[in-house]
């Protein structure tokens, strides 16, 4: 297959070039191109036993749902990654500092609303928010942007509309609830003595490269990174769908308060990319629209992978306070919004 043509060069040339640069590190590297080749060849060799092992109906149905979630979400992921790479590379960060009002109280809603025109999933918004803080944007405004951008941008809202063809009000509810939470969190963090808990990030990974390498490097990194988390989300969704007895879900779904809390917890655990989460939410047909709205509002703002990224970018003390506060507020606001709009 194509892999065997590609991998000798991939395994050889850059490795040689690296050897002079970091001679101490190199021996510890297990060449991943080689590993990938071996993995794929092994899988092809043992495909018959693997197929037999997967022939049980429950495994088949698990795999069908798994592949379906990945295939359905992948085009939207790729689209979002392309747009966010274009913005990260072709729009100078100083543009945002100039465009925002000087007073933080005003800058928060403006930055929150600005999230609507910056497509990307939450993996993309953490580095962009870090860049904004570095370029002198008020931290409160950057936080509002961090929370709103992955939830209310056109790509995500379009995906939501596609996933809920029978409930267009879901798109409006998601937009309103996410923007409210983002602005409220921004204003909360704007109070004196709050901003110092946020440790501004120090470097940008794409500075000092040409635009072409920076653009494609960003696309490659974001697709493999967010795609990996998408696979985790798809596996969790498939497991929920194929393995968890329908009675459990129905029991949780039947209780109005429990259903909202259950799906909020699920959103935190699944850590699905915001460009894909609408499709997972649509598949949770047992749950009320309000509970699914909580899933869609919480997911892009608080989840396991996002917590890790926020802790890495802004410091662990900040993330430890910011994430639980956002979760509580997001659940409350989506319950209220659901009661009004859905």
């Amino acid at each position: 297959m194509a892999l065997t043509r590609q991998s000798p060069r991939g395994a050889g040339a850059p490795g040689d070039a690296r050897q002079g640069k970091e001679p101490v590190e190199e021996p510890r590297h297990l060449d991943s191109a080689l590993l990938l080749t071996l993995l794929l060849l092994t899988a092809v060799m043992f495909q018959d036993p693997v197929r037999r092992a997967l022939a049980a109906p429950v495994m088949q149905s698990w795999m069908t749902v798994f592949v379906a979630v990945v295939l359905q979400a992948l085009p939207f992921l790729v689209l979002g990654v392309l747009l966010s790479a274009a913005i990260a590379v072709f729009v100078p960060p100083s543009f945002f500092a100039r465009a925002l009002p000087k007073r933080p109280a005003l800058a928060v809603p403006v930055a929150g609303a600005a999230g609507a025109v910056l497509p990307g999933c939450e993996c993309a918004s953490v580095p962009v928010a870090g860049a904004l803080v570095r370029r002198g944007v008020a931290p409160a405004a950057a936080l509002a942007f961090l929370l709103s951008a992955p939830a209310i941008n056109p790509v995500v809202l379009t995906a939501t509309a596609v996933a809920f063809p029978d409930a267009p009000e879901m798109v409006l509810a998601r937009f309103v609830a996410s923007l409210l939470v983002a602005c409220a969190m921004g204003w909360l963090w704007q109070r004196p003595g709050r901003a110092d808990r946020l440790r501004p990030p120090s470097r940008s990974s794409y500075e000092g490269q040409g635009r072409g390498p920076a653009f494609w490097g960003s696309v490659r990194h974001d697709v493999t990174h967010a795609g990996g988390f998408l696979v985790i989300g798809a596996m969790a969704a498939a497991t929920l769908k194929a393995v968890v007895p329908a009675e459990w879900l129905r029991a949780a779904a039947g209780h109005p308060v429990l259903s909202v809390l259950a799906l909020a917890a699920l959103a935190v655990l699944l850590s699905i990319c915001s460009e894909a989460d609408a499709f997972v939410a649509a598949s949770l047909t047992q749950f009320s629209l309000t509970a699914r709205l909580a899933f869609l509002v919480v997911g892009p703002m608080v989840d396991l992978k996002l917590f890790a990224m926020q802790a890495g970018t802004f410091g662990r003390p900040f993330a430890l306070r910011f994430a639980p506060a956002t979760l509580a507020l997001a659940v409350a606001v989506s319950a209220l919004t659901g009661a009004v709009l859905l």
Partner: protein, 238 residues
């Protein structure tokens, strides 16, 4: 960082993923998992993935020093899973297992368009069920009807003819079921596609999973047919 993907492995992974997505989009394979309307987006994203792989190889080749130092996410390895699932297994469209574990999704449609006045009727599973349950079979009585779907057997071995419907992708697929009576073939294997000819039956039962309404169909003849290219039915899910 042992075990991390370097740029070349990422490029290979992206290329394979793109090629697989293109393959699924160009053949009928994608119809097992998603709606036909997603096809252009699938083809586009497959092309972008391959272009990304090509650009990565190109820049790494021209300026190899940029390939170092940056820690690559270990989570990327997981992208091999959908790749292997699609290349090696290509799981089938959801069938009788999901159908018997999910309640019927029959809902009352907004209206019942007129049927042709003469000759045998060819109806979808969902349309027959909706007209039988919510229209009391008004236009179905005394007509020869044919429906196509796959066989599912419930816990007691009672046969159903089922068609799954999609809202968005196979993750939210829900079945519509018709219970079979009359000259049902003595040996039925689940997941066999059948074209049944018969007549309306006023009998009703309820789905054992969610107590939804399930109409009966009086079978006079059954013929095995190949599975359709698009195994899902979205006519009823409007």
């Amino acid at each position: 960082m042992r075990g991390n993907l370097n740029h070349q492995a990422q490029a290979a992974l992206l290329f394979l993923l793109g090629a697989t997505v293109l393959h699924a989009g160009l053949t009928d394979l994608h119809l097992r998992y998603v709606k036909a309307g997603l096809r252009p987006l699938l083809l586009l994203s497959g092309a972008v993935l391959i272009a990304t792989a090509a650009a990565t190889v190109w820049y790494a080749w021209r300026r190899p020093r940029h390939a170092e130092g940056h820690r690559e996410p270990r989570v990327s390895w997981l992208l091999t899973l959908p790749l292997l699932a699609l290349i090696l297994v290509a799981p089938p469209a959801l069938g009788s297992y999901s159908a018997t574990h999910t309640g019927t999704a029959l809902r009352e449609p907004l209206g019942f368009p007129d049927l042709p006045a003469e000759g045998p009727l060819r109806l979808g599973v969902g349309e027959y069920a909706a007209r039988a349950v919510y229209d009391h079979g008004r236009h179905l009585r005394g007509r020869s009807i044919s429906v196509t779907g796959f066989v599912a057997l419930d816990g007691d071995g009672a046969p159903y003819l089922v068609r799954m419907g999609l809202n968005c992708c196979a993750a939210d697929a829900q079945p519509v079921k018709i219970a079979l009576t009359g000259e049902v073939p003595p040996v039925l294997r689940p997941d066999t596609w059948l074209e049944l000819t018969g007549a309306y039956s006023p009998r009703r039962t309820t789905d054992p999973v969610n107590d939804g309404p399930v109409p009966y169909f009086e079978v006079t003849a059954a013929e095995p047919v190949p599975a359709p290219a698009d195994p899902y039915d979205d006519a009823w899910a409007g």
